[in-house]
Symmetry: C2
Subunit: 210 residues, 2 copies
């Protein structure tokens, strides 16, 4: 049987159910850990399901953070101008999920969740050693979204670290299946992913006959 | 063997390879068709892999569009203030992919790709009949991202249509596996998804012992 939630039904729905519904209707979400550090070298790690591609030339990724309350990730990025985005794989999904507990700033989620900070030369923010695809970024812009009380953080991609060079195929990009990257739905569900098709660049001149 | 692309390596990489690399490093992306209509009732359908959750209270989803060139989706939304977001399932992935061919505005991608426009009362934008999870939205905000020449379109969720009421579980949101929703990587790859875990809300007080 079909189900139609109209505006009234959405408004009248109890708050907890609505949050779960709305968090699931965008479809599957990317699964990443954002690593940051403050000027006193206290590091921070946060699971983020809102990382999006912003542009390729220049190379830009973004993600959304809440702008209210105690936001260590946002504060650290504004302080040091750098952050990392680390793909979550199945082996670290459980630990990654628990970085969302609201620890005080003096506590490192790396330590609490038994993940290992990894540093490279001339770049201050910590990567996650257990992640297999890692991106280092420098802050490029910060856009406040008034309607939702969130901030879109945009970074320039300055480093890409792959655990295995075979993950990258020049003709198609990173093979995320091979890298074991997972995805998220809603607020709490983690999923394996398996490619079933790649299609050619769509052109009017060579359009398929459906 | 590990691979490290630093800023120089990224800049020196040939353009086509860099676009493919950068389009794949955000992780898996949501797979949706955005349906719009103009004031003359000419409809339009576009595959979009950048739909993101913006907020739950009010309920908001967003997606990014290029702000240059002939952008029928953006023009239609500005004209009629409404649009739809329709989850892509495996049965329509091939057709959905080819909505990205650059047809002139007089051509409807619904017709070209053999997908069926579906309308509900008091809402002008077309849904995709073959999609199993559909969202109707009214334009809430439009934010230009200067760095990338893109625009973030944000809509208020006013309708949620589910082909089967069993897709919705009040305690966890929409079961995307059950709805057959798929996800995207890079520019051309489509993936099946299978849940392997759900974890409890992370709290300091009941933190697991890793």
């Amino acid at each position: 049987m079909m189900k139609h939630f109209n505006k009234t039904a959405l408004t009248d729905m109890d708050f907890a159910s609505r949050i779960k519904l709305i968090n699931s209707i965008s479809g599957y979400k990317s699964a990443n850990l954002v690593g940051t550090i403050d000027s006193l070298k206290q590091n921070n790690l946060a699971i983020v399901s809102s990382v999006v591609h912003i542009g390729s030339d220049p190379a830009l990724l973004g993600f959304f953070v809440k702008a209210f309350g105690e936001r260590h990730t946002l504060a650290n990025i504004l302080e040091t101008q750098v952050f990392t985005i680390n793909h979550i794989n199945k082996d670290i999904a459980y630990q990654a999920h628990y970085t969302s507990a609201e620890f005080p700033k003096s506590v490192s989620e790396f330590e609490k969740c038994k993940l290992t900070p990894q540093f490279i030369e001339q770049f201050d923010a910590p990567f996650v050693a257990e992640s297999r695809v890692k991106v280092g970024l420098t802050l490029a812009d910060k856009i406040d979204i008034k309607l939702s009380g969130t901030t879109l953080i945009i970074g320039h991609v300055t480093h890409v670290l792959l655990e295995n060079e075979d993950y990258f195929v020049a003709t198609s990009g990173i093979d995320l299946n091979r890298a074991g990257t997972i995805c998220i739905s809603g607020l709490d569900s983690y999923h394996d992913v398996q490619k079933f098709a790649s299609y050619e660049f769509a052109q009017v001149e060579s359009f398929p006959d459906f």
